[in-house]
């Protein structure tokens, strides 16, 4: 029930933020749309703890500044590689082992790897990720340990030893 309430709050905020019109007709249409969206979500069984992780939003907000810093650093590296007169790239494939347990943490970790330019996740097998890197030195498995630790903190929470999700 609390997830339905959270979804309703998010949808109402989305409607008000997008429309910005406070007339009775438009507000009524918004109420109808929110009710239809919630009915569809209930029918699709999208109201459990896993598909609406509101309890992780705060930890994820703590993760974003680190992610933005990583993106800026990696962007400068790739832009330098493009601008250099001689191509001196060194592409490589590495296997990275993740310590993330839940699916949410794995998604956060793999998407963070892909979002930073210069590294792309090619394939995810359980907890081993195949990563293609633009520079061999930047794409060593040790380079992802910090990001792995932080994204598992954002997705799983600080409590350890919960078993595999």
């Amino acid at each position: 029930m609390i997830y339905v309430l959270g979804l309703a709050t998010a949808l109402v905020l989305l409607w008000l933020g997008m429309s910005g019109v406070f007339e009775p007709l438009v507000l009524g249409l918004g109420v109808v749309s929110v009710i239809i969206a919630i009915a569809l979500a209930i029918r699709l069984d999208l109201k459990d703890r896993e598909s609406s992780p509101y309890h992780r939003i705060f930890a994820f907000l703590l993760y974003t500044p680190y992610l933005i810093g990583e993106i800026v650093k990696a962007n400068i590296t790739v832009l330098k590689a493009i601008m250099s007169p001689e191509l001196d790239i060194e592409p490589s494939l590495v296997k990275v082992k993740s310590t993330c347990r839940s699916d949410l943490a794995k998604v956060i970790f793999a998407n963070s790897i892909t979002l930073t330019p210069g590294t792309v996740t090619l394939r995810v097998d359980d907890d081993i990720m195949l990563v293609h890197g633009l520079y061999e030195a930047d794409a060593q498995p040790e380079a992802f340990e910090e990001m792995d630790r932080r994204s598992s903190l954002a997705g799983d929470g600080p409590s350890t030893r919960k078993g595999k999700a």
Binding site: P117, V120, R123
Partner: protein
């Protein structure tokens, strides 16, 4: 000392700084987008081009949207810019991973090792997988 502090506070409170910061962010975004497009043309194989294209998705588009949000006249445009940026952040890596995974599953071999000469590039040609 207090005069310096007063001028700093006045500069922060006035509308001018938003204009300047927004313009600089837009400039950075536009320039990095063009550089990334050059990289997509220049890099030797598909996977390296993917890295160049992901620059545009993150730095280019997001800084342009952030700059426009700072230049925006009303709060609702700011909300829409934030929503567009959120969708781009959520969908960009997903589609990049989908393209890379499809190419890797179809057997497109990446170039590995130090890349030396632009002339003897041989790409793993596998049209439509």
């Amino acid at each position: 000392m207090t005069e310096v502090l007063d001028t700093v506070i006045a500069a922060v409170l006035s509308e001018g700084w938003r204009h300047w910061v927004g313009s600089i962010l837009c400039l950075i975004g536009a320039v990095s987008t063009v550089i990334a497009a050059v990289g997509v043309l220049r890099f030797p194989d598909f996977y390296t081009r993917l890295h160049a294209a992901s620059v545009t998705d993150t730095l280019g588009a997001l800084t342009l949207l952030a700059g426009m949000a700072l230049l925006a006249p009303g709060i609702f445009i700011v909300i829409k810019m934030i929503l567009i940026g959120l969708f781009l952040v959520l969908t960009g890596p997903t589609s990049a991973h989908a393209i890379a995974n499809a190419a890797y599953t179809a057997g497109l071999e990446p170039l590995i090792g130090k890349f030396r000469d632009l002339k003897d590039e041989d790409e793993g040609e596998s049209e439509n997988g």
